[in-house]
Each structure stands twice: as structure tokens, then as C-alpha cells.
């Protein structure tokens, strides 16, 4: 029982991190109908940045983490401005460009950071006993807390601020939104940066728990995509629920069925969703 609960807790922790990563994808799909295939690479880069900022440049991990996310935000802005913007309205070219970019970034990561897994230092050490049942690493608990914080912040940003209102307006009807005086170029750019930053946040949060490797990025993208399809494209709530479902299923599956096939569970879920409910849990049936 204690063992089951521990795997379940692992699932919850990974689940909220999945949710952050998936919201990054969902935000961009919702607004621009662009899937960022380089999502996993941005996630990996953030992990490497925080590793090198804290270990090579000696920054405190508390500073290294947000700084890495900020760098990824800037990379996202640049990507949108230089590569994605000219492809609006041409779905095919945006798919090609982000896929090629993912290969370029993956190979650059191999060249710059090397093929070995890197683990940035933990923020705290030790473990806490949970309900008197099992010991759980403090770093994981802290990661869980930070992730919840980020999720709350994103929900606040989208639901309560003017930026969020513009984002939602553009997702619903781009032309109408620009008629209402919303500068959609600016919103697109910032949203793309934000989507990238969310990938980066997930990366810096997970890196001290599971080290990042350049070759792990496709699986990360895939997880985020499955969560987005499961939750329903463009739905934030869907990302949270989908992220948790996938996190828990993958961890229980890895513990009780097979570790090798962790990602296969995600793919099976993707196929089941496409067969039975292609618009996802919270998506709109069109």
C-alpha cells in the first residue's frame, strides 16, 4: 500500500510538471494553430542552462532557475519573430520549420553540452515522512509546490488579466480580435515566448529530479502533445487533468508493468482518445 501511494505521489509530481509543459504547447496551438515540435528541446535546454549557470558559473540555484526560464522565453520570442511569423496561415510550413528546428537544437545540444545526462543541484536535501507511510524526497515536494504555484500564476494570467483576455479573444476569432484593437502580432510573440518559458519551467523543475539528456527531448514533446490531445486542444483545464492522468498512469505502469514501456502508455492513450473522443476531455466538438 505504502509502495502504491509512493508511485501515485510520483505520478502527481510528474503530472503537474506535465501540465505546465502541456500548457506551453496548448497556449501556442490555441492562439496560432502552430504545434511547436521544438518544445522538448526548449525544455532540455532550460535544464542544461540551469545546470551550467549553477555549476559552471556558480550561481545559486534559486537564481539560476528563473534566469534559465528567462533565456528560454527570449529564445521563444526570437523563434516566433524570425521563423514562425512568416508561416502564419500555412500550417504545413510551421510544422516543417518547428520539426527541423527541433533536430537542429537537439544536435546543437549534443555538440554544446555533450551526450551525458546533467543534473543541476537540488534546492533542498533530505526527505519528509508522508502520513507515516513512506519517506518522500524534499526536492520532489518542493518541485510539486513550485509547479502548483506556476499553474496558479498561468491561470490568473489567462483568466484575469488584459493579456489573458486578448489571448482568449484571438483564440476564438482572430479577425474580430484585431478589429477590436488587439495587436495580435504582439500577443502572438509574447504567447510564443510564454509557451517556450513554460517548457523551460518544466525543464528546470524536473532537471534536479531526473537529469536531462539531448536525446530525451522527443519523448518530452510527445508527452506534452498527448496531454494536449487528451485534455482537448486549447483547453487549459484539460492540460491539468490530462497531465495528472498521464503522470499517474505512466508511473503506475512503469512500476507495475514495465519501465521500458513508459512512453508506450502515452501512445496507447493517444490512440484511444483519437478512436473514442478525438476532441479530448474538455475540447470542443466541432
Amino acid at each position: 500500500m505504502a509502495e502504491f501511494l509512493m508511485y501515485f505521489t510520483n505520478g502527481l509530481v510528474i503530472g503537474v510538471i506535465n501540465a505546465i509543459s502541456a500548457i506551453g504547447v496548448s497556449l501556442i496551438v490555441g492562439i496560432m494553430r502552430v504545434i511547436n515540435f521544438a518544445h522538448g528541446e526548449l525544455y532540455i535546454f532550460a535544464g542544461y542552462f540551469s545546470y551550467h549557470l549553477s555549476l559552471t558559473f556558480g550561481l545559486s540555484p534559486i537564481l539560476a532557475m528563473p534566469l534559465s526560464v528567462f533565456f528560454i522565453f527570449l529564445i521563444g520570442i526570437l523563434m516566433e519573430r524570425l521563423l514562425i511569423r512568416p508561416t502564419y496561415g500555412d500550417e504545413m510550413y510551421s510544422l516543417i520549420i518547428t520539426f527541423v528546428l527541433s533536430i537542429v537544437l537537439q544536435n546543437s545540444a549534443l555538440l554544446i553540452f555533450g551526450p551525458y545526462p546533467n543534473k543541476p543541484p537540488a534546492l533542498i536535501s533530505g526527505s519528509t515522512q508522508i502520513f507515516g507511510l513512506f519517506h518522500y524526497g524534499n526536492q520532489r515536494l518542493l518541485s510539486f509546490g513550485i509547479s502548483i504555484g506556476i499553474l496558479l500564476f498561468v491561470f490568473y494570467l489567462i483568466k484575469k488579466t488584459w493579456f489573458g483576455k486578448s489571448v482568449r479573444a484571438i483564440s476564438q476569432d482572430r479577425e474580430m480580435a484585431s478589429l477590436m484593437g488587439i495587436d495580435h502580432w504582439r500577443i502572438n510573440m509574447i504567447s510564443f515566448g510564454l509557451g517556450a518559458a513554460l517548457a523551460g519551467s518544466a525543464g528546470v523543475i524536473i532537471a534536479p529530479i531526473f537529469p536531462v539528456t539531448p536525446t530525451g527531448s522527443s519523448a518530452i514533446s510527445l508527452t506534452a502533445f498527448v496531454v494536449v490531445v487528451l485534455g482537448g486542444m486549447g483547453s487549459l483545464k484539460g492540460c491539468v487533468v490530462g497531465g495528472l492522468i498521464l503522470g499517474i498512469l505512466e508511473n503506475l505502469g512503469a512500476a507495475y508493468v514495465s519501465t521500458m514501456y513508459r512512453h508506450i502508455f502515452a501512445f496507447i492513450i493517444l490512440i484511444l482518445v483519437l478512436v473514442f473522443r478525438p476532441w479530448g476531455l474538455f475540447g470542443q466538438k466541432t
Binding site: E91, L95, I96, I97, S218, A266, I271
Partner: protein, 305 residues
């Protein structure tokens, strides 16, 4: 008229060239022909119906592993095996196409990417059957190994593929492919079943990838999870994009140029993927019609000064 003048000497060249090539360059030519099959058949869905599949290399892997494992485990001759591999690839193509295409292009890209990753994971982990990353040794087509025979086998199959693709593109069906690409709504309202057309194109192209993969596997005689990898997928995509998507010649040109170039770059290390990636980004961004588009533009400028 113009076309015959160019293609006749080209055919002669392709037939007689191998007698003057070293074993090494003969190998490069065979690999190039494999990529011609891959890039041209990928171009059928991407260039002509606007759907991006990331499972083309995966389907080649299906072809190679199905045929290879049949030969190793129950002794089915490769000549028969590659047809079984092609059939399995086309079945998977119909399945994935049917599930995703009705939901739109994004779904097809996502799901094919997932399929590709999963296939690689399964092949790597089920090493009892596939020997994982060690690679599975499989028999070749010919009892007596000769690169020359493989060259002509690949040349003939490529020619058949190109002939089928050419006829498809210039048929009524090809017309509806392009109609779907240009204006889906207009195509649908003029009575074209856009989803069926796309699924059909996807299935044909997946089957071709399956057969190309089978041939490739039995030529190499050692198949590894690199065949269905995303890296391989990227090379095929880069060849089509750099050569010129949506044109018949583009992917053929791209396949030869990139494969020959990668042989030269390989001397300096494994940088060809990064370099091709950067070039493909530039091409997709600034010259979406690729090399063929650039050549055509030059041609026109010269014609009308």
C-alpha cells in the same frame, strides 16, 4: 520535347555510370536511390496534399523489420518478405490515416511522430526478436553478393515508383490532391471527398516507404533502429524541402545532392545533420519552393531579359 532531351541522356547515364564507379561510389548511388524513393513518396503527401507525416522512416523500418524477421525466423525469401512488409506498412498507414486525417493535419503530424518514437522504443527493447541496437543480421536478395545487381534492382524499383507517382500526380486523382491542397473548402464543395483523398495518398506513400525500407534492409543486411529513427525522417524531409516540395523533380534532386554531400561532410565528423537542418530552415523560410524553385526563377529571368 524538352523533357525527352533531358531525360534520355540521364537514363543512359544512370545505366552506364555504375560500370565506371568504384565500389564506394556505387554504394553511395544505391543509398541515394533509396532516398529518391523515400523523399519522392513523402512528397506525395506533403507536397501534393499538404499533410506532414513524421512516420515515413518508421514505415521504412516496418518494411525492413517485417521482411527481415520473416526471413530470419521462418525462412521466407526476401523477394516475398518485402511484399509482406509493404502490406503491413500500408495497413498501418490506413489505420493512422483514418484516425488522424479527419481531425486535421496537426493530428496526423503529432500521431505519426508518436508512432515513430514508439516503434523505435519497441525495436530497441524487444531485443529477443530484433537484437535491439546491436542490429539484426538478415539475408540479402542475391545468393552472390554484388553491388552492381543491387544498383540495378534499386534503379528499377525507383523508376517504377517514379512512374507510378508521376501518373498519380497527373491523373484525375492528382488533380483532386492539388485541389485539396489549394483550397480545401472549394474542393469539398465541388464534390471531392477531401478526407478519402488524403487517406489514400497517405496509404500509397506509406506503402512505398515500406517497400523502400525492405529493399534497404536487405541491401545493408544489418538492420538497426536507426532505420525508423527521427534522424532518418529528418534527412528524408530535408531532401524534399531543400530539393523542392510539391515538384516532381525536387525530391529526386534533393536526395542525390544531400546524400553525396553528406559523404563529403562525414570526413569532418557528424555535422551533416546540423548543417542540413540549418539549410532546410533557410530554404523553408526564404525559398519554400526549394532548389527547383530557384532554378526555375533563374531560367525565367534568362529567357525574358
Amino acid at each position: 520535347m524538352m523533357k525527352t532531351w533531358i531525360s534520355l541522356p540521364l537514363i543512359f547515364l544512370l545505366i552506364f555510370l555504375p560500370f565506371f564507379l568504384s565500389q564506394y561510389w556505387l554504394h553511395v548511388m544505391i543509398i541515394s536511390l533509396f532516398y529518391v524513393m523515400m523523399a519522392s513518396s513523402w512528397n506525395l503527401i506533403a507536397g501534393y496534399t499538404g499533410q506532414i507525416s513524421f512516420a515515413h522512416a518508421a514505415f521504412a523500418g516496418v518494411g525492413a523489420y517485417v521482411s527481415g524477421m520473416l526471413a530470419v525466423n521462418i525462412g521466407i525469401p526476401p523477394w516475398l518478405g518485402i511484399f509482406v512488409g509493404t502490406f503491413v506498412a500500408s495497413l498501418l498507414g490506413v489505420g493512422l490515416g483514418y484516425l488522424c486525417i479527419r481531425m486535421g493535419g496537426i493530428y496526423l503530424s503529432l500521431t505519426t511522430l508518436g508512432f515513430s518514437e514508439i516503434l523505435r522504443i519497441i525495436i530497441t527493447n524487444e531485443d529477443r526478436w530484433t537484437r535491439g541496437t546491436m542490429g539484426l543480421q538478415i539475408p540479402g536478395f542475391f545468393t552472390e553478393y554484388s553491388k552492381m545487381s543491387y544498383y540495378f534492382l534499386f534503379l528499377i524499383v525507383s523508376a517504377v515508383f517514379l512512374f507510378i507517382l508521376y501518373r498519380l500526380i497527373h491523373s484525375e486523382m492528382g488533380l483532386s490532391f492539388r485541389a485539396v491542397l489549394n483550397d480545401e473548402l472549394a474542393a469539398a464543395s465541388s464534390g471531392i471527398d477531401t478526407i478519402r483523398v488524403r487517406i489514400l495518398a497517405f496509404t500509397i506513400s506509406s506503402a512505398m516507404a515500406g517497400m523502400a525500407g525492405g529493399l534497404y534492409g536487405h541491401y545493408l543486411m544489418l538492420i538497426t533502429p536507426d532505420i525508423p529513427s527521427l534522424g532518418q525522417m529528418f534527412l528524408v524531409l530535408a531532401m524534399a524541402v531543400i530539393g523542392g516540395m510539391g515538384s516532381f523533380i525536387g525530391p529526386i534532386l534533393g536526395a542525390f545532392v544531400l546524400e553525396v554531400l553528406s559523404e563529403y561532410i562525414r570526413i569532418y565528423g557528424e555535422y551533416h545533420v546540423l548543417l542540413f537542418g540549418l539549410v532546410a530552415l533557410g530554404v523553408a523560410r526564404f525559398a519554400p519552393e526549394g532548389m527547383v524553385g530557384v532554378i526555375k526563377k533563374r531560367w525565367k529571368v534568362k529567357e525574358s531579359p
